[in-house]
């Protein structure tokens, strides 16, 4: 680090940071601040909003109707995150034990699924669960069902599609820590007589607790903020807060209410994921 002024580097580091910092402040931090400010504004006809300092939007956002929607959103996100954890962690673990060439094939599939537009996922699951082209035809052919049935829209469709978009994200967040796991730990457990399943549950899971908590928090927040799938594959009982935020913001032009709903959603997301992280970190500290 002897080149160009040693560790501090003079003005160079700050000069190089100017664009990244400016871009993130203006395009990421400022929008959050503006949401917070607008959530106290008043809605006016023929314009987007007018400056004010009222709590009406929060009164509306915390009314029983939206609280129930919030409950539905949280339950859906928790359920999807739980399924992703239960499926994604063993999947990632087995994946990292494959030879690299085969790992690459699975990783390409996971990445391609992850990048697939939520719109396309919603479309394909609505086809999968439809009467004319869905899996029920297969079940009729197998003799399980008497006649083809439609399962979309409905809760099953929402859950299946949300897991479909969240699972690749789960796998990719679990992948780095799981692949760095020391294989000798598992071998030691096996030498001591633990079955592979038991070794996984009693050695792998506890060691990875911290990374797992972080990944689950990320997936929870992602599902909490999903719009397309609950809107298009769900019936009104499955409509989550994002559906109503979008509805208020775009179709009803009530940006202050949309902003207040977004703040509430964000707070719930932060609180739940902070809880998850505390859970993961706390246990880690005890072990250390």
């Amino acid at each position: 680090m002897s080149a160009s002024g040693g560790r501090r580097g003079g003005a160079a580091p700050n000069l190089l940071l100017a664009w990244p910092a400016a871009a993130l402040l203006v395009l990421f931090v400022a929008p959050l601040a503006v949401i917070l400010i607008v959530s106290f504004f008043r809605r006016v006809q023929a314009a987007f909003f007018e400056p004010a300092a009222v709590l009406d939007n929060y009164a509306a956002a915390l009314a029983p109707f939206y609280l129930e929607r919030l409950g539905v959103s949280v339950v859906l996100a928790v359920a999807v995150a739980a399924v992703c954890l239960a499926v994604g962690l063993p999947f990632t673990y087995l994946l990292t034990r494959l030879p690299r060439r085969r790992q690459v094939k699975y990783l390409v599939l996971v990445l391609a699924s992850l990048s697939l537009s939520e719109v396309i996922v919603a479309f394909s699951w609505s086809l999968m669960l439809s009467r004319t082209s869905g899996v029920s035809n297969l079940l009729v052919w197998l003799g399980v069902l008497d006649a083809p049935r439609a399962w979309s829209p409905g809760l099953a469709a929402v859950l299946l599609a949300l897991v479909f978009v969240a699972l690749p994200l789960t796998v990719l967040t679990f992948y780095p820590p799981v692949s760095r796991l020391n294989p000798e730990l598992v071998e030691a457990a096996a030498t001591l007589g633990a079955s592979p399943v038991r070794a996984f549950l009693s050695v792998v899971v506890p060691v990875l607790r911290r990374a797992v908590a972080g990944g689950v928090a990320l997936v929870f927040i992602f599902v909490l903020g999903a719009y397309v799938i609950p809107q298009s594959l769900g019936r009104p009982p499955q409509w989550t807060v994002p559906v109503h935020i979008t509805d208020q913001a775009v179709l009803k032009s009530n940006l202050p209410l949309a902003a207040a709903l977004a703040v509430v959603l964000l707070v719930v997301g932060v609180v739940v994921s902070a809880g998850l992280l505390a859970f993961g970190l706390g246990r880690r500290r005890v072990e250390a």
């Binding site: 080149a3 501090r8 940071l17 390409v108 990048s115 537009s117 999903a226 719009y227 807060v241 979008t246």
Partner: protein, 256 residues
Amino acid sequence: MGAVALYLLLPILVIAGVSLNAKKVLFFPPQGVSLRWYREFFTQADWSAPALRSVVVALLAGVIAVSIAAPLAYVVWRWGTRLSRAVLLLGFAPFALPPVVTALGALVLWIVLRSFGQPYTVVLSHGVFLVTLPLATIMLGFAGLNREVVEAAVTMGATPATVARTVVWPNLRPYVVAGYIFAFVLSLNEYIIAYMTVGFTFETLPVKIFNSLRYGYSPVMAAISLLFFLVAALLFGLVGKVGDLPRLLGADARSD
């Protein structure tokens, strides 16, 4: 593992089947085989124009994302100043936000800046939203860079520019390219930010598909969906061929 792979592949298979229907119906298995829906996608302007818009937005958003991520990752690696670590935290934050909140933030910001509906707004908002991906890969690239090699070059009299060109860049290139491709593909597929910023003025392909879903399904959508999946699989497959995909995604260097 096979079950998970099947779960991920099944919708793609159904889409592929439906896209081959000879008539304007959505049957699986298809009734009659034809490629007319693929032809329609490429030749009809109401599909090909949004597709072109999406590609342009994604190409530019990827540039924005990398242009933010690369200098940031470099400063963190080279000097590790407190300021750079604070900015780094911001760079990882967009992915930890509910997507709908990010989109609403973009909508309100562009209204306040009186630019609502301008095509460039979605490019900038996508670029910043997706910055986490190139940031993660480029940070990994720097982490794998041997500092002693860099210092040796400096000791032997190489200027900072020469070091950057002959030592840093060749080692870093796969990570930068992979980060760009991740950002590109995700921007191409992104719906909610595109909808809230330019949904009514500069319709991108995901927005177009979603709008069309309300008026009934067409096999064209299945054809497009399959093409999207294939483009993504092809690009990531290419990354896997050229570079070390497990390593790019955060596995350590130990190979078997």
